[in-house]
Symmetry: C2
Subunit: 231 residues, 2 copies
């Protein structure tokens, strides 16, 4: 059992099943966010804390770059750094959104008010990627396969339930829907191709599961800090 | 003594002194290369082995990226990855040169014939960068401050002494002269600004010294493998 790799379609089904079941789309905090039940303060707390996660993305993507021996892989993956770091990239858009929802942008950018539990979870993502093989590290990014639906839902929910948020504050999420779809599909193709034994496939699933735990734990910390959430 | 940083001009002089004295421009193998004393086989051995060093450059630059918390720094440093990885970048140009001097390009690209001593030295560079702080890792790149003269000398020496090498095989070195000058100067500015205590300054000098040892050791291994070099 341990040597022979699963056929790609069974490996993909395994990844999708474990990933979809554990993805934070169904976290109670997200459910309340999308039902319009968050106060402005709760929404701002999420924006501030989640920004720390956003700042870890280029760091872990640079670590992934450093693990590859293939310039073609690196030419592909480096686009992710540009997507977040460029002057009009994801980090800048997130800070613009933070200002639009009423956060102190300088405080958000400094990350000094990030909740300890959020910090531990996000740092665990960098550690996971640092210690993983290339294919496992890429597998940990496969939560992107589930992100487009969540982000499309978020845009619709914010427009409907939080009309006080300026429409153009949502540019980051709108831009991420097609980008995450492409990135997720390409990363999945890479993992399906490069995980060539059952053991490596199992480690890829484990990396994806760990990543879903990180995302879930981040929301747990945000929710915990918010006290009782109104119905 | 241990707390107060040296003024920038004294710190710079320290870096330049230690770097210039130990830089591999004066390694016997380089002296013979530039005097026209290498056989085609010896030149090809250097090209093949030095390619392994070239492949470590984007890996260590990605590690440096991963150490920075500043998108502006990363927007600056990421250019180095493009310089080596892009389709017409440094790695591609090096392989073109390898073909032009008569190497088996596929063998060079595979790195399978790299001498053990060369491999250890180059891997030590990646380890040095991985384990260093950001400013120390950048300091280890300051050998670039001494590279332009060596590379200009190399181009002239090859054109004069190795006329069997096609002129356009030297594109990589020609392109590196201005690029290394700019990169070295900018990295120096960063190190002078960011090393804010004497201890950190001393560790930066140590990182640069270690890097010069790595470059020197690479040539030792190439020379050792070549047997007696003709006068």
């Amino acid at each position: 059992m341990s040597g022979a790799a699963l056929p790609p379609e069974r490996f993909e089904a395994w990844l999708r099943d474990e990933g979809a079941r554990r993805y934070h789309a169904t976290h109670p905090f997200h459910l309340r966010m999308h039902a319009g039940a968050l106060t402005p303060e709760q929404l701002r707390r999420w924006v501030l804390n989640r920004y720390y996660y956003q700042t870890r993305i280029p760091v872990k993507d640079a670590l992934i770059l450093s693990k590859s021996e293939d310039p073609r892989f690196r030419r592909w993956w480096i686009q992710r750094l540009h997507d977040h770091d460029d002057e009009d990239g994801g980090l800048a858009l997130w800070l613009r959104m933070a200002g639009a929802v009423g956060c102190d942008v300088e405080e958000v950018a400094s990350c000094r008010a990030v909740l300890p539990g959020v910090r531990f979870a996000c740092d665990a993502y960098v550690t996971l990627v640092r210690d993983a093989t290339l294919v496992e590290a890429v597998a940990s990014s496969l939560t992107e396969c589930f992100a487009p639906d969540l982000m499309a839902e978020r845009v619709a929910a914010w427009e409907r339930h939080y009309p006080w948020v300026p429409r153009d504050a949502l540019t980051y999420f709108r831009a991420r829907v097609p980008r995450a779809r492409t990135d997720g599909a390409q990363a999945l193709t890479f993992v399906l191709r490069e995980a060539r034994t059952y053991d490596v496939q199992a480690r890829c699933v484990q990396a994806l599961v760990r990543k879903t735990e990180i995302l879930w734990s981040l929301l747990d910390a945000v929710e915990q800090a918010g006290g009782t959430v109104p119905p």
